[in-house]
């Protein structure tokens, strides 16, 4: 009885862990977008840095990576500062309006991977 319960619970736990593979689930990877424009605001904060960008169609909120990962890859606070021109490739949120999660961003001709 005890073993059966433990086995059942372990199965549930492992299955749910596999389903929740990574935190990109609420972004539509089938509709990638590239937005380009000046950075209007920048929050270099955990758990993810975010910027807002005035693109040609609207102002996007762009979710980036944790600050330590950003810094490690060279995308420091100065790189994603207000006023910089940025190009962001990523996926629009299926939950938040006008929000996207960037796979990579390009600033001053240099590309930084966010994943």
């Amino acid at each position: 009885m005890t073993r059966a319960v433990i086995f059942a619970l372990a199965s549930v736990l492992l299955t749910s862990a596999a389903v929740a593979h990574h935190g990109w689930g609420s972004y539509d990877a089938n509709k990638p977008v590239t937005i380009t424009g000046p950075i209007l605001s920048s929050k270099f904060e955990n758990p993810h840095a975010t910027i807002t960008v005035r693109a040609s169609d609207k102002v996007w909120t762009v979710t980036l990576a944790p600050t330590s990962r950003m810094s490690t890859r060279g995308a420091t606070e100065k790189v994603v500062a207000v006023g910089q021109d940025v190009s962001a490739y990523g996926y629009p949120s299926t939950v938040e309006k006008d929000e996207m999660r960037a796979e990579r961003i390009t600033v001053n001709g240099k590309t930084y991977e966010m994943r």
């Binding site: 009885m1 005890t2 319960v5 433990i6 619970l9 549930v12 736990l13 749910s16 862990a17 929740a20 990574h22 935190g23 689930g25 609420s26 929050k43 270099f44 904060e45 955990n46 758990p47 944790p66 600050t67 330590s68 810094s71």
Partner: protein
Amino acid sequence: MTDAAPAIFVALEQSGFAAAIRQSPWLYPAANVGHIVFLTLFAGAIAVMDVRLLGGLSAAAPGPLLARTRNVALAALAGMAVTGSLLFSAEASHLALNPVFQLKAVLFAAGLINVAIYQFWAKPAVEHLAPGASMPARAKVTGALSLVIWIAVAACGRSIAYF
């Protein structure tokens, strides 16, 4: 930040305390790691207690075993409360509206209610039993509920980021 959340959560997220957590390069990741380390301690202690309540580990008298593992569980729970508060404060408005976080909160409350039920209903029937004695049904019920509820709480916690 989302204004759709109740004002208290918006205010918490906008507080200097929450901003400090977000702006520190190490505080949020440290709380994240600490939360999981305390979770493993908590889960280990809970598993020993619940398996004993279900009739396993029967060579040990239930009273002393449960008392000692409970101390570990309580200490780990305190650690999770501290680290969890940091993680919650940083993103309070979103988390308050996150369906998985809400489910976790409900399950957490259920877990605490189960602790109270155990305390008043099952513990008196268990704590003086000898090693090898068969466990009463009330011990098995609360033990099984505890296993199911706390594992579900942990699964919800790990799933918050994906919703």
